[in-house]
Amino acid sequence: MNSYSSKLLENAVNELAKLPGIGRKTALRLALHLLKEDIEQVEAFSRAITKMRNEVRFCQECHNISDLDICEICSNLKRKKSIICVVEDIRDVMAIENTGQYHGVYHILGGVISPMDGIGPADINIITLENKVAKQEVEEIILALPTTIEGDTTNFYLFKKLKNYNINISIIARGVAIGDELEYTDEITLGRSILNRMPYEHSLKK
């Protein structure tokens, strides 16, 4: 496709088309839409994105996306630091927070073990979790990773790493259909899952 009447337009389309799930056709539609908007509106849009990219921090405690070095959840004195819920990414934090049933803190792995995608244990935030546990500040670890084979295998890896410390390791109830990720679970089910978690050993097949 070399038929753009404007190099500027073409550049914008090229950038938009790099976003996940956006093909060239949609990218062109978005670019034309932005051209119709007020210039102030478009400036606010691009400012918000640049600012987000420049200024966003990752919480030093839990790796959650945050505006400060320590996120709101970790700095909240009412949250129990001794209970850590291990999740894949921020979408899971949002889903569990929406249930209003959980008062511990989180640990965001930033992915799950997946050799086919070149992701090994060293590529996700496992060492920082182990360090927290080693400092003996943790009583319970709740595993809330996706119910996929990769999530399941990551649970197993974490269990093997952490089982020799004196802590409880539990897993949220798998009421969810196979392949359903946490973000699609409705909030009531998830709230119940968090409350009815079970010891990890019991979830292992014999």
Binding site: S114, P115, G120, P121, E150, D152, T153, Y157, K160
Partner: protein, 366 residues
């Protein structure tokens, strides 16, 4: 369960058809390339959401038209009528409906309207590699056992991850036991269950199969299906441990249920080498008939049975035996295609069965 009526629009070489069927036997007679097999394929679509012959949906739309539509009206019992439709606009997503309600997951439909297809391609089960035979039993078992299907999908994923890891180790000249072990554990857990289910399946499947083979071939030869697996008498955990050196050298996993196979034999010898063409044909037809009965026993009602051009190379007596067999009450609705009108006419002359004969010419059905 039977298909009462089928309508087609622009499906393969058929512009339009509206057919009402017999509850028992329906025959489509026509020369090769006239499109009689396409009717069977349309019926196959309604059960499996895809073509038996051509997996590329778009290529099943009639040339120079923009869509195809298949509608089937099924009777499950005296009270219940089900309408299934499959429509496809060229280059769009296929729409599959039960009672006008669109499916979001096609997998939810599979198994609701069971069907067994017997076709000349079945000989591939004998001639091709072990993968095809594994696929065959997997497809039969997963129709009733969704846990089996999930376990199988997860096993294959875990296997790919483990292989990716072995390759990574080989390329980078490193090794990390802990990273590999977690995948071993998954393969062991999932593989053991799959092994047991395959073993159990073949055990209950084989006697049914042998009975059909004896009936079709007048019980002259002894036939067998043997399930072969490295897991027989070994546990996968120790197999993986023993094979680790080999696995690292080859860069992939050399033991597991992905190496399973079925051994077909006749008179104690491998069927592929020692079976005649007629014996091989009777063998795979018997496998399919056993699949029919196995499905019927689990579902509690009779699947639809399709016979596509299988009578060539079979002697007249065997053909008659088969038609007689499937006319019995233990079978339900049957669809047959054949090139020779005389053969079919002669069979029905001596058998008193409810049947309908359609002649097919250039996509037109009468």
């Amino acid at each position: 369960m039977y298909l009462k009526r089928l309508t087609l629009n622009n499906f393969k070489n058929c512009t339009e058809a509206d057919l009402s069927f017999s509850e028992k036997i329906n025959c489509f007679i026509g020369n090769n390339g006239t499109g009689k097999t396409n009717i069977l394929d349309a019926i196959y679509y309604l059960s499996f959401c895809k073509s038996y012959f051509n997996q590329i949906d778009n290529q099943n739309i009639k040339h120079e038209t923009s869509f195809f539509a298949i509608h089937g009206y099924y009777v499950k019992n005296s009270k219940q009528q089900d309408t299934i439709s499959c429509t496809l606009q060229r280059n769009q997503k296929k729409q599959f409906r039960l009672h006008k309600k669109l499916y979001h997951r096609l997998a939810d439909h599979i198994g609701l309207f069971p069907l067994v297809m017997v076709s000349p391609y079945d000989r591939d089960l004998i001639n091709e590699g072990s993968e095809l035979r594994r696929k065959y039993i997997d497809s039969v078992i997963s129709q009733f056992d969704k846990v089996y299907l999930d376990d199988l999908i997860n096993y294959n994923k875990a296997l790919s991850h483990r292989n990716a890891l072995l390759k990574y180790f080989a390329v980078n000249r490193t090794f990390d036991k802990a990273s590999l072990e977690i995948w071993d554990e998954q393969l062991v857990n999932l593989g053991q269950g799959i092994f047991e289910k395959r073993h159990k399946f073949i055990k209950s499947f084989t006697p049914i199969f042998q009975e059909y083979f004896n009936f079709i071939s007048d019980g002259k030869e002894q036939v067998a299906i043997k399930y072969e697996s490295q897991l027989k008498g070994n546990d996968l955990k120790s197999l993986l441990a023993q094979a680790i050196g080999k696995d690292r050298m080859f860069g992939h996993t050399t033991v597991g249920i992905h190496k399973d196979d079925l051994l077909f034999s006749i008179g104690g010898y491998p069927l592929k080498k020692f079976g005649s063409q007629g014996q091989q044909k009777s063998f795979v037809i018997s496998v399919k008939l056993a699949q029919f009965e196995y499905t019927k026993n689990i579902k509690g009602f009779k699947p639809v049975l399709l016979f596509d051009d299988i009578f060539d190379k079979l002697d007249e007596i065997r053909v008659k035996q088969i038609v007689k067999l499937v006319s019995e009450n233990s079978f339900g609705q049957v669809f047959i295609t054949d090139t020779q009108k005389e053969r079919i006419d002669k069979i029905f002359l001596s058998l008193n069965i409810d049947h309908k004969i359609f002649s097919v010419d250039d996509g037109e059905v009468k």
